[in-house]
């Protein structure tokens, strides 16, 4: 074994192979930095070139690209609050507040060190684990997978924020949102209302962007300041490294968690960051700073997501089962170069397996190094006045959202979810709870159904299930003890400005209306479930019913709770840290986004971007015509350049259905 290990390492260290790996890393970095263009886009770009390459070079290139993804997408998570990829969502929670405090460089360097450590640790574990992995992977049947999905859901307890009823209701909304589309057990369609777009469910990227990115952009737009305000960028680079060194044990534990979650097929990367984040919170004595810029909230998910990439290789290599979309493309690439995954990967083809694992480690080291070098100049983005950055971010987010199904409805869904996200942020609803519910709904439902079909309800007393149940109990216990609140300190509610009770009641009305709308959504979910067959109805029905119950409790509190109760949190009625009331209106940003979506539906995306940029610069920024056109030119060049390189299409509007236009306008 040692011999194979060394020979594959020397094989890899030749100039040619390293060069191909660097090529993969470079492409991966560019694509990783752009939000929502993940491994699938990158691999699809490279796979056509691997015909005729030797196996080691081709693998080095593809893995170089895959390994850098969870490192590169950290940039947009930390600097702009846009979840860069499905496994960097939790990084936003603390990374972005750090950037707002002017600690972008510190957060980035801590993230890259953690990524590198996670990646290398993952590779080390895999070196040994690959030989014994097969029986362990086979030990996870549907019952165990269902319990792991529940473990993911139990993280809601950590992330529920100040008001637990809001957290549970948000989670239920997420679960119902995630169960839109075909039911796993029967294939019948739920909550589609004859809208073709909903038959496949709402795409993850659209939900992530709508719930996380849009509210941040909208809020920042209100103040017209740079993301980092007046705060100096700071050196930060060494500080980030020291932060990591102080928390090396946390990083180690989260890497292990990431590795394990990656190895188990069917759980997927979209929960690993939340589990790691939840773990960090549960095991920290003073968790009061989480959600407001605690560096441990960056270290934990970033250690885990790189380790996960390694772990996720195992089911792909040993069983030929792709654990994710990008793994499916990777699998296709492997077959193109004549590597057939299967049991032989640990026997006759063990050298290839080790090549893959060690490329992963090397690529992580190089990748983190490159990112660290880039972090200083890129962190400068947080100094740009936000109103100059905002239109670009609107364009980028819409373009990314549109890549999910390439239909205009992506943009409409983004707008709707964006509005929901803005209100959730304003009223202190925990957005991670909704996202976790959304991500885990299909998995929890599928595995529960399969477990009951295979074993009957007796699956609940299987040893593996009981062990995971115990872990869940511990996790919930510590979770409730150390809850994370992403909203600012609950200061004096300004109700004392109102002298009479009537005005105080009126102040609660917007909050009541939003909560009522959420309960209404759940009620529609319940009503829809009642029209389905038993198997298609049971899961969403029960979840909606629970959500309605907690929602009603919330509504009751909103009417009768005393002032100062956590459920009453409302950002608009809250004095900020600087003692100022928030300026401007949230609707301003939403209207600009709506304008972009509306223009795109009329004239197609490219023309819409041009008009939107010029209008924004003139109206909002008040710049000269010349400057407005230059900015619009930059945005168009960027969007068209990316689309051309990756062979992507644009949303088309009414205009395109009437006139046949040449490519970028089509």
């Amino acid at each position: 074994m040692t011999e194979i290990l060394l020979s594959s390492l020397t094989n890899l260290l030749s100039f040619q192979h390293l060069a191909y790996m660097m090529l993969g890393i470079s492409v991966g970095l560019v694509i990783g930095i752009l939000p929502a263009l993940g491994g699938i886009a990158g691999l699809s770009l490279l796979v056509p070139f691997i015909y005729g390459m030797d196996q080691v070079s081709a693998l080095a290139m593809l893995i170089g690209l895959l390994a850098i993804m969870p490192t590169g997408d950290t940039f947009s998570s930390i600097l702009m609050g846009i979840p860069g990829g499905s496994s960097s969502q939790a990084t936003v929670l603390d990374g972005f507040p750090m950037a707002k405090k002017g600690q972008a460089a510190r957060a980035l360097s801590a993230a890259f060190i953690s990524s590198m450590f996670g990646g290398v640790f993952g590779a080390l574990v895999l070196t040994v684990f690959v030989l014994i992995a097969r029986p362990i992977i086979l030990a996870f049947g549907s019952p165990e997978l269902f319990m792991l999905a529940l473990l993911g859901l139990s993280m809601v307890a950590v992330l529920a924020g100040r008001s637990i009823v809001k957290g549970l209701t948000a989670c239920a909304v997420g679960l119902i949102l995630g169960s839109i589309g075909g039911a796993p057990a029967t294939g019948e369609f739920r909550m589609v209302f004859d809208i073709f777009y909903l038959y496949d469910g709402v795409p993850l990227v659209v939900v992530g962007m709508g719930i996380f990115a849009i509210p941040e952009i909208v809020d920042l737009l209100r103040t017209n300041q740079a993301i980092a305000r007046e705060a100096p960028l700071g050196k930060g680079w060494g500080q980030g490294f020291r932060d990591w060194a102080q928390n090396w044990f946390l990083s180690l534990r989260c890497s292990a968690v990431g590795c394990i979650v990656g190895v188990i097929p069917g759980l997927g990367g979209s929960v690993v960051d939340w589990i790691a984040y939840g773990h960090a919170v549960q095991t920290t004595k003073d968790s009061s700073q989480f959600g407001k810029g605690d560096v441990r909230g960056v270290i934990a998910p970033e250690s885990a997501n790189n380790a996960m990439t390694g772990g996720a290789m195992l089911p792909t290599l040993l069983f030929g089962i792709p654990g994710s979309g990008s793994m499916a493309v990777f699998l296709g690439g492997m077959i193109l170069i004549g590597v057939e995954p299967g049991p032989s990967m640990v026997t006759t083809d063990l050298n290839l397996t080790y090549t893959i694992i060690w490329t992963l480690a090397l690529a992580n080291i190089f990748g983190a190094g490159i990112c660290a070098l880039l972090s200083k100049p890129i962190a400068g983005l947080t100094r740009i006045p936000f109103q100059l950055l905002a239109p670009f971010m609107f364009v980028m987010v819409s373009f990314a959202a549109f890549q999910s199904t390439r239909s205009l409805e992506d943009l409409v869904a983004l707008l709707v979810l964006g509005v929901v996200g803005v209100f959730m942020k304003r009223f202190g609803w925990p957005r991670p709870a909704l996202l976790i519910g959304y991500v885990l709904a299909p998995q929890a439902e599928t595995y529960l159904y399969q477990a009951v079909q295979f074993n009957g309800w007796s699956f609940l007393v299987q040893p593996g299930v009981l062990i995971i149940a115990a872990i869940i109990a511990v996790s919930v216990f510590f979770g409730l003890k150390n809850r994370v609140d992403e909203s600012v300190e609950l200061g004096e509610l300004d109700l004392h400005h109102h002298t009479d009770a009537e005005a105080a009641r009126a102040a609660r009305r917007p909050q009541f209306a939003f909560a009522a709308a959420m309960v209404l959504f759940l009620a529609v979910g319940l009503w829809d479930a009642l029209g389905q067959s038993f198997l298609g109805a049971i899961f969403p029905g029960v979840m909606a019913a629970v959500g309605i119950l907690t929602g009603l409790m919330l509504l009751w509190k909103l009417v009768y709770a005393d002032r100062g109760a956590p459920a009453l949190y409302d950002q608009e009625r809250q004095t900020g840290a600087d003692g100022q009331m928030p300026a401007g209106s949230a609707w301003n940003g939403i209207i600009w986004l709506a304008a972009l979506v509306g223009l795109a539906s009329l004239f197609g995306f490219v023309i819409a971007v041009g008009l939107f940029m010029v209008a924004f610069m003139r109206q909002r920024v008040g710049s000269t015509w010349a400057r407005a056109f230059v900015m619009a030119g930059w945005a168009l060049a960027g969007v068209i350049g990316v689309a051309y390189a990756l062979n992507l299409n644009f949303p088309s509007g009414v205009l395109q259905s009437m006139v046949d236009l040449p490519w970028p306008l089509r």
Binding site: A185, I335, F454
Partner: protein, 240 residues
């Protein structure tokens, strides 16, 4: 051009079988199959097991045949099928290790459009033979027609190269010639079997025939399947 593929149904030795000849032992045993859904390609095994009178519980919600194979290896299911390439790479080792028993292949269509043994698995009976071993008769009747229609669409005519309707005839001819040339290319012949299995890529008139078979269905056959799906599996396909 039409690219055919095949597949092999296999089970576990714990049901008392040692090879295809023991298929009758499956009768009366409770079989569990990991299905991607009643309206997916797994409709073919669903109709096949039904036709054979095998008592099969279809557990839906699997994301692919690989997922289903994993459930089989975990012992959650006891009957499964894999397409040819996946079978060779991932199930053959299980057969060699004595943890899986092949039953039959779906078979391929000969030039006359009749099902014959799959050249990739010459030792395995095809579905029709297996049915005969089980019941003593060759399969026939409306349910067999229903199975056959979906089998033809799902396997021998699984993947087709098509061009838009108004493509000029010379371009179509150029494509057809290119496919013929590819089949004659020694480099193709050398690597085809390892990658695609022992299946001829079908061109010309035969491809047309397969295209017809794979994309048309008799009204009564269609009704049979729709009825089965709605009464037994609660799937409504929007027709009365």
């Amino acid at each position: 051009m039409v690219a055919p593929t095949g597949g092999v149904v296999y089970t576990t030795p714990s049901l008392g079988l040692t090879g295809p000849q023991d298929i009758a032992k499956l009768r009366g045993q409770k079989l569990v199959y990991a299905s991607q859904g009643a309206t997916s390609l797994d409709l073919v095994p669903l109709l096949a097991f039904r036709l054979m009178g095998l008592e099969t519980q279809h557990v839906f919600g699997f994301k692919g045949r690989g997922d289903g194979r994993l459930a089989f290896e975990r012992g959650e299911t006891n009957i499964d099928y894999q397409t040819s390439s996946a079978y060779l790479k991932n199930v053959q080792p299980l057969v060699d290790a004595g943890t899986a028993v092949p039953l039959f292949s779906w078979g391929v269509l000969n030039e006359a459009g009749e099902p014959v043994r799959d050249p990739t698995f010459p030792d395995l009976p095809h579905f029709g033979e297996a049915y005969q071993m089980l019941t003593g008769n060759a399969p026939s009747g409306p349910e067999y027609d229903a199975y056959f229609a979906f089998f033809a669409a799902g396997f021998p005519a699984q993947k087709m190269v098509v061009v838009p309707k108004d493509t000029p005839a010379d371009i179509v001819a150029a494509y057809q010639k290119a496919f013929e040339d590819m089949k004659a290319d020694p480099a193709y012949q050398a690597s085809a079997e390892a990658v695609l299995g022992d299946y001829d890529q079908v061109t010309g008139a035969l491809a047309d025939a397969l295209y017809q078979r794979g994309t048309t269905i008799e009204d009564d056959v269609r009704k049979t399947v729709v009825d089965v799906l709605s009464t037994d599996y609660g799937v409504k396909l929007g027709e009365e």
